[in-house]
């Protein structure tokens, strides 16, 4: 029995632009297990969104997948025909995006859109599809499903629209949900509602999730495992607790240190970090047009060694099983 649902292996995506070739994803490797939420976290330009799109083979022009395997239930999605992919998209793997108002069609009622997606994937009558849509609306916590069914997207708030998107994504019984920054456009109180809903759907319906986000707090609260991406590849991956509390890669360390420290839980509990300067990572995220040689993090790394400038480190085990990092502090080349 295979214990992975989706496995992304050595994925490379590049964009040929007038300015040159942009290397957006460079050897991304991770897997999502059945019933888990895997977090893919990183700063802008790290290739996390392109990876999400690549899984559904929706990388926009002029991007192309140049190398790698995308195994879903052991079958390579890159080998499937265009018609076969139509059934995968929205049927077995669904995706939701950051801005729900841009994902819904403004000239059709939300009910109409959900019914159409259901009938695309499942052979049911219009009446059955409608009932199924109403049930999904109920399941995602939309109040008064029959009323919502006949509203247009602009009549709903951002949080409601995102619930409709989740309903749309799950209405055809998808096994894997790719959520690309699903709460970034929402206010914190609404973000909390949507995250609670996603976690509940995972627990109740066993939907697996690939959660793409830049927010480490969101990862800490919702994901079992997490991969930290930088310049198109995973630099550290493992159980969320291991990665966020016993991080090994200098980039992960820098990222966590850059967050404002939380106040101590009690008055007088040590003063917290208020007023003290935050640690920042010098420099900026590299541009996919001009990736540094060797480890792409080396120009910003406080622990850079000679080997880092020439050889790109592979992922090696750095702790309990499954905790891996791509850093020469832990590779054989680096230690030697």
């Amino acid at each position: 029995m295979n214990d992975t649902l989706l496995s992304v292996e050595d994925l490379h995506v590049r964009f040929r632009t007038y300015a040159g070739v942009v290397y957006a994803v460079n050897g991304m490797t991770f897997d999502v297990r059945p019933g888990e939420t895997f977090g893919l976290v990183g700063e802008s330009g790290c290739g996390k969104s392109v990876t999400g799109l690549a899984v559904l083979r929706m990388v926009p022009h002029p991007g192309e997948i140049v190398k790698g395997r995308l195994l879903f239930h052991g079958e390579d999605l890159l080998q499937k025909s265009a018609t076969e992919m139509q059934d995968v998209r929205g049927g077995r793997i669904a995706m939701i995006f950051q801005d729900p108002s841009a994902s819904l069609n403004p000239v059709f009622t939300v009910g109409n859109q959900v019914v159409r997606v259901i009938r695309q994937h499942v052979p049911v009558s219009h009446a059955d599809a409608r009932q199924r849509a109403l049930d999904t609306f109920e399941a995602v916590g939309l109040p008064d499903p029959p009323r919502i069914f006949s509203t247009y997207p602009h009549e709903l708030s951002g949080g409601m629209q995102q619930r409709v998107m989740i309903a749309l994504a799950l209405s055809s019984g998808a096994e894997l949900l790719i959520a690309d920054e699903p709460t970034t456009a929402l206010d914190v109180t609404i973000q909390a509602q949507i995250l609670a809903l996603l976690t509940e759907l995972r627990d109740r319906q066993g939907v697996s999730m690939l959660l793409i986000t830049h927010n480490l707090g969101v990862v800490a609260e919702t994901c079992e495992r997490v991969g930290v991406a930088y310049a198109g590849h995973i630099v550290e991956m493992g159980q969320t607790d291991d990665v966020l509390r016993r991080m090994k890669h200098p980039y992960t360390r820098g990222l966590l240190a850059a967050l404002p420290p939380p106040p101590p839980p009690k008055r007088g509990g040590g003063g917290g970090g208020r007023g003290r300067p935050l640690q920042s990572i010098e420099g900026t995220v590299p541009d996919g047009l001009r990736l540094p040689a060797g480890c792409p993090f080396h120009p910003r790394c406080p622990e850079v060694m000679d080997v880092c400038r020439t050889a790109k480190p592979a992922l090696v085990s750095v702790g309990p099983p499954g905790h891996v990092a791509a850093c020469h502090l832990y590779t054989r080349e680096g230690v030697a």
Partner: protein, 331 residues
């Protein structure tokens, strides 16, 4: 922190009138600010937090007199800015500056960095020629950017670099007061930390007073001396940062806001309070306490009477009908 207010808002109210259609007579009145009273003391950072549509940006812009309030006063060093003419405002503009959320849209793409930084200097001072360039150079170095970039254009920079240049431009006239409207929201965390450190260092060095507007509680908590929490155009809680974050938050909305923010460390994780529904339409706010339809602790009076912002001790102000709690037993 000095105890004289530099800036004061008194009963600040702003209505935006929006028409329904092009020819329609029906009008909608959005209450963006509803009787906001607050003071910003010399050399402090007052943080303003709230969700979208709560009026925090309108508050910043009204204080800057970029928007004229419907009623109320904005006092800067005791002088009411509201009735001043454009010309009379000029001398106050030197003392108050602003940094916006998106550094990409706050620069003219056809202006070089030098032109952008020099514009306030040309408007307000007699500096010209080499002296002007030297001042621009000095300002860039103050924000950690090399002076050589003066002749480059905005598109050549990353968001973090542009935000530094925006800070340099705001500092050009040696202001006393800066409104920072979500200055780090468009930036990645590693760069956000650089900008926050810069803002704090400049505040110490130049004795600046900040109004820091943000929806990100962890950032506000880190940078602010006091915090004002806004909901639908009103301040619902105002207090020292410590009082709010060390368990003294009194207003149910503040508590829900704190509990909604995802927390990294599982040991610090609070009990989840998930509010029902969304923020009501500001054109049609609920009667009584604006928060009552979502409030987990609401009682009958909440839907009838609007609570006043009252002092519950130690400069901690709350607008809620529930009896005040002892700060230490609050959670």
């Amino acid at each position: 922190m000095n105890q004289t207010p530099l800036v004061e808002a008194r009963g600040l109210t702003k209505y935006f009138i929006s028409r329904h259609g092009l020819l329609s007579r029906r009008q909608k009145c959005v209450v963006a600010l509803d009787g906001v009273n607050l003071a910003i003391y010399q050399q402090e950072t007052l943080g303003v937090v709230g969700e979208s549509g709560c009026g925090k940006t309108t508050l910043g812009r009204t204080i800057m007199r970029l928007i004229r309030p419907t009623s109320g006063q904005v006092l800067f060093e005791g002088q009411d800015l509201v009735p001043l003419s454009r010309r009379q405002m000029l001398r106050y503009r030197r003392d108050m500056q602003m940094v916006f959320q998106s550094p990409y849209s706050s620069f003219d793409p056809r202006f070089t960095v030098l032109n952008s930084i020099a514009e306030p200097l040309r408007t307000h001072t007699t500096l010209r020629g080499e002296v002007l360039v030297a001042r621009a150079h000095e300002l860039l170095e103050q924000v950690g950017m090399p002076g050589e970039i003066l002749h480059r254009y905005p598109h050549e920079f990353s968001g973090g670099q542009l935000q530094r240049i925006a800070v340099a431009r705001a500092l050009a006239l040696n202001p006393k007061f800066i409104v920072l409207d979500e200055p780090t929201s468009a930036l990645d965390v590693s760069v956000q930390a650089q900008i926050i450190n810069l803002l704090q260092a400049l505040q110490r060095e130049l004795k600046l007073t900040y109004l820091f507007i943000s929806h990100d509680l962890s950032v506000v908590q880190h940078i602010s001396d006091r915090i004002a929490v806004m909901y639908l155009g009103q301040v619902v809680e105002l207090s020292a940062t410590e009082a709010i974050f060390y368990g003294g938050a009194h207003h149910p909305y503040t508590r829900a806001l704190l509990a909604s923010a995802p927390i990294l460390d599982p040991e610090l994780r609070r009990e989840r309070i998930i509010l029902k529904g969304g923020v009501p339409d500001p054109a049609n706010p609920p009667p009584g306490c604006r928060f009552h339809p979502r409030c987990p602790a609401g009682t009958a009076i909440c839907s009838e009477a609007e609570p006043d912002l009252t002092d519950v001790g130690d400069g901690h102000w709350v607008a809620c009908h529930r009896p005040p709690l002892q700060p230490n037993r609050a959670r």
